[in-house]
């Protein structure tokens, strides 16, 4: 990495502080909140796909699991602190089990894609068919297709009556994203992160060096799931309802599209892609000229064809060529290979 760690942290903090101050002047905080949450979700896949080479077709499963865990725990506990923690832990544990099963089975690329897709489908189908009164966890009815409304939303820890919502909730989410971003940065700078990149590049070699590739991929997968789970819990708080759609393939598809459009192999790309496309979708809902699915599809096709590295790397290379900085040349083959991981 070009910059030193402290520079990196400083730049991140300054830029995000400015953004957190300026953005609410342009877009309503309620919409911004969900953009931030989607950014976090995009980052979760960007981490495991872009830096670990694990293409997960079911990142939405962890998102949904986080949201449902939060909702169910919040109904049963009535205070949001423990549910928030559980919403991070449950997806992480689930991902650990799933990851161990897949990675120790030496499943790679397409096969990995199928398994994650299938697991997402199973979760979706299960949750979708829990409308009956027999599906209860503690006090919480799972609700099937209709989802779970009316749970305790985020409160100041220890004080269940002090709700955090509206603008304060936006700031909580934004700060959470900054913290997650810094953690990801730290992780990628650490040996663990560099080894993960090594595994993305060549699993066999890393195994022959003595690294337990399966274990490391499992851990990375779980970290990604934990981040997605946190995003899910925040989303549950934002929407005040959770529905099986969170688990849907459509949701998984969107996450993948965010990463592609934003730029794989970068930390910023998936966040930018997620926020940008979600905002586009929001704007499109205010017109009815062209079908919105069509536009999303076209964007994806055009990006794969003409800008396969995504926006952020493309902009970075344009900027560096303008300002002539001797930054490390972004490598096209890098992203390509990452995707085939």
């Amino acid at each position: 990495m070009g910059r030193s760690a402290s520079q990196d942290v400083l730049i991140t903090l300054v830029v995000s502080a400015v953004l957190i101050w300026v953005m609410p002047l342009l877009i309503s905080t309620y919409t911004l909140t969900v953009l931030v949450i989607y950014g976090m979700l995009g980052l979760s896949l960007g981490l495991i796909w872009g830096f670990g080479g694990i293409l997960c077709f079911g990142q939405a499963a962890f998102f949904g699991l986080g949201a449902y865990t939060y909702a169910i725990a919040a109904i049963n506990i009535g205070e949001s602190t423990v549910p928030m923690i559980l919403a991070v832990l449950v997806p992480a544990v689930f991902a650990t089990l799933l990851g161990a099963m897949m990675f120790y089975g030496r499943l790679t690329d397409v096969y990995l894609g199928v398994i994650t897709l299938v697991v997402t489908l199973i979760l979706f189908k299960f949750v979708n068919s829990t409308a009956g009164p027999q599906y209860v966890i503690g006090k919480a009815r799972l609700g099937g297709f209709n989802g779970i409304p009316g749970f305790q939303t985020l409160n100041v820890p220890g004080d269940p009556d002090a709700y955090v919502w509206g603008d304060p909730f936006f700031y909580v989410c934004a700060v959470a994203l900054v913290i997650v971003f810094l953690l990801v940065t730290w992780l990628l700078r650490s040996s663990f992160g560099r080894i993960a990149v090594g595994i993305r590049e060549n699993e066999v070699r890393m195994g022959l060096m003595g690294y337990d590739v399966a274990a490391r991929k499992t851990v990375l997968f779980a970290v990604g799931a934990a981040i997605a789970g946190l995003a899910g819990a925040l989303f549950a708080n934002w929407g005040e309802i959770v529905t099986p759609n969170l688990f849907s393939l459509g949701q998984s598809a969107e996450i993948i599209i965010w990463c592609i459009v934003g730029g794989l192999g970068t930390r910023l790309g998936p966040i930018v892609g997620a926020a940008g496309l979600a905002y586009l979708k929001f704007m499109l809902g205010q017109q009815s000229m062209v079908d919105n699915t069509l536009i999303t599809g076209l964007i994806l096709v055009l990006f794969v064809l003409f800008l396969p590295r995504g926006l952020v790397p493309a902009i970075a290379s344009v900027l560096s060529s303008i300002f002539g900085r001797t930054k490390r040349r972004p490598n096209a083959s890098r992203t390509r290979r990452a995707r085939h991981g």
Binding site: N128, S129, G132, A162, Y163
Partner: protein
């Protein structure tokens, strides 16, 4: 729950946001009506005609001089069949557009996604869709029919035509589960027996094994509250297996989104249903309504139950505003609670003050050549299911969706 603190925080937040935002340009002296419907995505077969009906109703009001001398302006959002967008646009409507009333929501999940926002921001909310019943919220008016209203009349009629043994095939979600229970109750009340009940998630489209299973239970009648495009396959596969003339079918949902126009006469004829509206209603009100629709959109085939509910919902609200002489929420609620009624395309619709649901005419109908022929009209059926659990007159702070214990 300390609502005060919440409202304080939230209120401050709303104020702060609004102050910073370029406020939506709105002409002074107009009334703002917010609409939030899926006009694209998988639910648009429901949402598009509802949107058309909403615009038709508003146009009619404006052509007649508006409300309280002001024109009604529409702020409409397409939620693209995406639940997350409901939350977002609800915030947009209430905090930025500051509308005076919101009409919309299709699925129960979408209603629950926006209901609390409406309540918190004190924005009057109309949910104009046939649904499972039981929502008890002073801020909400539900103008669609609920299961008891339909089932109470449909089941005895269908059993009389067929026999006492009933097999229920229901959509596996909130609506289907609750409706199935009501069907069971009325089957038993009428001296019948439910031999089996099966639930199907909304994406099930292969009913081969189900058709075999039904033949094993050998019922006299099938009541099928099945929902959506995938479930339509049941009616088709049922006919393809040659079962249609052997066991009669009744449904509380088939046709709500004009599904009967997709089935061929051979597949559809004879299926028994009970709704508030049918295009084939031979009343002056319906004829006029269809003429107006024809003039506006050129084609009346798209009109369905939910579109008419929406139209009636807006007319009820307008009536409430006229009576209150204001668009202010509490005044309008009080006016509506006097038991206001209007004469809509589907007959007289009256607000039930106790539940904020609607008392409507219910028509027993049979499919005939891709239309719904009215067999019998049962005037002014009250929402008895919701009435059993909800009394907003004695408990105005209630904010629950009850599951009605039968």
């Amino acid at each position: 729950m300390s609502l005060n603190r919440r409202e304080l925080l939230g209120g401050a937040a709303a104020l702060g946001t609004a102050a910073m935002l370029p406020k939506a340009v709105m002409a002074a002296g107009t009334i703002q009506l917010g609409s939030i419907l899926d006009t694209s995505g998988i639910f648009d077969a429901y949402g598009k005609p509802m949107d058309q009906a909403m615009r038709l109703a508003v146009k009619e009001i404006n052509d007649a001089g508006g409300l309280l001398g002001k024109q009604v302006e529409v702020a409409a959002y397409d939620t693209q069949s995406d639940m997350a967008l409901y939350s977002q646009y609800a915030q947009q409507l209430t905090r930025q557009d500051r509308v005076d009333v919101v009409h919309g929501g299709i699925l129960s999940a979408s209603r629950e996604a926006i209901r609390q926002t409406m309540r918190k921001t004190k924005t009057l909310y109309f949910y104009n869709v046939q649904y499972e019943g039981g929502v008890c919220d002073r801020n909400l008016f539900a103008t669609g029919v609920t299961p008891a209203q339909q089932v109470e009349v449909l089941v005895p009629y269908a059993m009389k035509k067929s026999g006492p043994k009933v097999h229920i095939l229901a959509a596996d979600y909130n609506y289907g589960q609750i409706t199935a229970r009501w069907i069971q109750k009325f089957v038993e009340d009428n001296g019948g027996e439910v031999v089996a009940t099966d639930f199907f998630p909304l994406d099930v489209s292969d009913f081969g094994s189900t058709i075999t299973k039904v033949q094993q239970t050998a019922p006299d009648l099938i009541v099928a509250p099945l929902v959506g495009g995938a479930h339509l396959s049941f009616f088709r596969q049922w006919a393809a297996a040659g079962m249609k003339d052997k066991i009669p079918l009744a449904s509380t949902t088939m046709g709500v989104g004009n599904e009967h126009k997709v089935l061929t006469p051979e597949e559809g004829n004879g299926i028994m249903v009970a709704y508030n509206y049918s295009q084939e209603l031979e009343t002056a009100a319906n004829t006029t309504f269809k003429e107006k629709w024809q003039a506006e959109y050129g084609d009346t085939t798209a009109i369905h139950e939910l579109a008419v509910s929406t139209y009636q919902g807006i007319m009820l609200w307008a009536e409430g505003v006229r009576k209150a002489g204001s668009v202010e929420r509490d005044a309008v609620i009080e006016a509506l609670e006097t038991g206001i009624s209007i004469d809509g395309p589907a007959g007289k619709v009256t607000i039930d003050p106790q539940t904020h649901h609607a008392t409507v005419d219910v028509h027993i109908m049979e499919f005939d050549n891709q239309g719904m022929t009215v067999i019998e009209t049962l005037p002014q059926r009250a929402p008895i299911d919701t009435q059993a659990v909800c009394d907003l007159q004695t408990n105005p702070d209630d904010n629950t969706q009850y599951e009605i214990e039968i």
